[in-house]
Point group: C2
Chain length 190, copies 2
Amino acid sequence: MYPELLNHIIRYVQLTADEEQLLCEKLEYIKVKKKEFLLEPGKLCQGSYFVVKGLVRQFFLDDKLNEKIIQFGLENWWIADQDSLLNHQPSGFYIQAIEYSELLLLTERNRILLFEQIPRLECYFRLMIQIAFVASQRRLCYIFTQNDEERYRHFSARFPGFMQRVPQYMLASYLGFTPQFLSRLRAKKT
Amino acid sequence: MYPELLNHIIRYVQLTADEEQLLCEKLEYIKVKKKEFLLEPGKLCQGSYFVVKGLVRQFFLDDKLNEKIIQFGLENWWIADQDSLLNHQPSGFYIQAIEYSELLLLTERNRILLFEQIPRLECYFRLMIQIAFVASQRRLCYIFTQNDEERYRHFSARFPGFMQRVPQYMLASYLGFTPQFLSRLRAKKT
């Protein structure tokens, strides 16, 4: 049994003990070293990863081979290439551990199977993707309205603990500016 | 009965005749004139709107009162402020008809009620939000990798019919550049 995940699910939907058992039997516990990959471009995304411990990132390389971070995955968060899962097509993304991480993999095949057996699980995942969609829309709004410095201040105020764990260049990539700009900002602050 | 919506649902999940009936009884048919609002900032989003005919847009005003378009809603597409629905908080957005439009409103209360009665409907909406999330992530990737001109060319190639229906200044707002830039681009093309 995986208490971290079950405690997370219970915030949104109620499962019976049998359903919890059934779900846990379908999960695979995965440990990855820092910098290890869970997904690489050209491969099908295997399923959805729940972060039990650690921190991962989803990114792609642009034409000039710059890393562009599209999403982070922290404890109690699901991460997956939804495009690859939904359209059964090879991914264009990397998913990589930033720290040593422990995750639960729910393959897409098992997820769909479980939806038939545990309808409330579909409700849980509907909510998870709705939350992710809202976060993605908010990010678009910030890109539209905030300049680089505002985006940085806003992000540090909302996720102070997170800021300590992520290397500067990754944070710059996620917020869409150069590491040099971030260094100048941090120097200004201190 | 609303054939446009039922034909859309059938692409993803199978409902029984009774379930279709039940769903249709919960919908409200809405007709809006060009420029009429379905949602305004400070109000709760009532629910999800399925576009039967016409075209709507979701936008907000930035500090300088510039309109920033976050999403369009065309025929066979759902539009809603997911943030307002999910977090039961007043919206920061407008949803407005660009043309005379006909829509089906499914209030959030009815949607949640129906999920209990028609579990497959939850599957349908889980897929709808998953598709919307993928579109939103792709848009982020384009913002990260394409310059203004590339973004315009990419968008016109993918949605040629749509380009004819949307006023230039809205297209510019959606793609994140000035109407002047768009005029220059179009002049260059012809």
